[in-house]
Symmetry: C2
Subunit: 346 residues, 2 copies
DNA sequence: GTGAAAGCGCTAACAG
DNA sequence: CTGTTAGCGCTTTCAC
């Protein structure tokens, strides 16, 4: 720890005032006359005084810190979320505590506990499993301010998130409207109980009277570029007649795109590709990727607003509220044009 | 803040022991007999006791938290660093405090101050300007454990970082050895005084007896894909006869690659492209990108080791030590083969 | 074996 | 206007 930690007491001794007066002066209390304050501030500067937030937190019973629990910060969306959250919270005078659960429920539990020990004033959480959130529900029950960044409307916990079901529905419907009938879905997250995108996909098919074909569904274990490539290999081995593929995130879509490049499949002529999240590289891919836009600013902004309002709520603890932000589609080259039958894949 | 924050005192009252005994029992002191401990632990569980780290930090004079100051977390390398640091620190029982300076010196100063107020036990810092680190040097002078993640050997502050100069030298030399004589450099960071890569590039040219041509240097303001595209536009307007382009990071290289795709310039046939950092998308780009590998695990591992050894150093405060990790090249399609004169660009 | 008392650095209530 | 006192929840002597 640092060497010369000047304390209020030291300033008090040097200036001859009491600790209390020094404290008030430094915090700009109107009760302290200007001349007194001047002396004190001057001495504080000279002694390089920095208030001890730890001591302050102990007495104030607030740390002005908020925990952010991510599943995996290398996911570009989560990275951007982390950035946006940190930026906005620091603007509001909060520090951000980060942790990643690495998609493991027990780790998620552990980091939440760590944050509680450190008395984070509240938490923003991407639960690794959308269905298993009892431990989070319990936090809420103890009046701990917590806001989920994914979640379904009847989770019983506050949440602000993208309406993934609606996004998947929109994207699939767009492909259908473009003339596609055989639309594959490369889906990751199923093993974690995250079925929103799959649901949206099925709903869109149903709405268009297209039967759901399990052969068109590839469940990917991971969600990075490599997995997308692998999923396309799987798919192309199945003779499905797919003319379009909808990927549950952009990294998968980029992997699918790369597969097409390698195999000489022309996108979008032979195969249309639709991504999800609209990460930066989606726009700048070899073939610019159509994607479902994740409005990070909007979502993080609302989530922060909510968690802070919970922190400031005294007695009147409000009922849980789930805010779904409906995403827009971003259409680019990878799905350009109307579909003309000439499938190359499967 | 949470409702029912059970304290040692509460457990003491319920069990009839003193606060002290409870504290010792919960921390597994051998001075407490098993039966006593059993009772206390049981009650603690029942009351859902969670130790208050804030109070503990105040008396222990250590917070078991380490600050990580990044310039910009959306930079994929920094994201990966953040991930690696958080993972390793949590393994060691530390929490990671994040902040981004957004490449602004005054913001950097501010976040460092914030971390000090919060009594972070130490800090890892990517300074936004490699040359202006007086404020950091001052920290060190006050025996504050701080390790830079970039920096030159004579900064007077501990540092663990990639040897960017050596990396740039290697990459440029590789291009020269492949037959290139007109090698452009798309360089970002110059305005922040970060000249290591430029230096390495020049050294390699000099070593091969190739004169440095300022026309081949494009200074990019930003470092994302868009800037790489723009830099290529600039370059192609200059009639330089470049046959290869070395980019100071992979996003720029990806932008350059996209420019080539759009303009029908074949990579590597018409133009070789070399990136820097070896981010995930470099490998999976339309044309897989050659790059200078940033060994994140190694660098963050050593940096953490160093900062923790500084934290644990009592009286014998060691002299600053700078560790340069020499990077390897990763050669992929974008620089494949020997150069055959047929420039298309400029 | 266990408890009482002091103190970490700060804020807040209350005197004067 | 300023100082005194108490206390935040914990650890650490030091008695008993």
């Amino acid at each position: 720890m640092a060497k010369s930690a000047a304390r209020l007491k030291d300033i008090a001794q040097q200036t001859g005032f009491s600790v209390n007066t020094v404290s008030l002066a430094l915090r700009g209390s109107p009760r302290i006359p200007d001349e007194t304050r001047r002396q004190i501030v001057e001495m504080a500067d000279k002694m390089n005084y920095l208030p001890n937030q730890v001591a302050k937190s102990l007495v104030m019973k607030e740390t002005r810190s908020i925990g952010l629990v991510l599943t995996d910060i290398t996911n570009p969306v989560l990275t951007a979320v982390a950035q946006a959250v940190e930026l906005e919270l620091s603007r509001l005078g909060y520090i951000t505590l980060f942790a990643t659960s690495n998609n493991q429920l027990d780790l998620e539990r552990k980091v939440i506990e760590t944050f509680r020990q450190r008395r984070a004033d509240g938490m923003l959480i991407f639960p690794c499993n959308h269905r298993q959130i009892d431990h989070i529900r319990k936090l809420r029950a103890r009046n701990y301010p917590v806001v989920l960044l994914v979640g379904d409307p009847d989770a019983g916990v506050d949440a602000v998130c993208m309406d993934e079901r609606a996004g998947a529905f929109k994207a699939t419907t767009y492909l259908i409207d473009s003339g596609h009938r055989r639309i594959a879905l490369i889906h990751s997250g199923g093993e974690n109980g995250n079925f929103e995108k799959l649901d949206g996909y099925k709903m869109a098919l149903a709405a268009a009277g297209i039967p759901f074909d399990p052969d068109l569904l590839v469940a990917s274990r991971g969600h990075d570029v490599r997995n997308g490539f692998g999923a396309m290999e799987t798919l192309s081995g199945r003779t499905t007649g797919a003319t379009a593929v909808f990927c549950s995130n952009d990294s998968l879509a980029l992997g699918a795109l790369r597969f097409c490049t390698v195999r000489g499949i022309s996108v979008p002529r032979d195969l249309a590709i639709f991504g999800f999240d609209n990460i930066e590289f989606a726009e700048h891919a070899a073939t610019a990727l159509s994607s479902v836009n994740y409005d990070i600013e909007a979502i993080t902004g609302l989530a922060i607003e909510r968690v802070i309002s919970l922190i400031n709520a005294k007695a009147e603890w409000p009922a849980p509220r789930v805010t779904l932000v409906e995403p827009d589609l971003v259409i680019r080259e990878s799905t350009a044009g109307q579909w003309r039958p000439a499938s190359r894949i499967g």
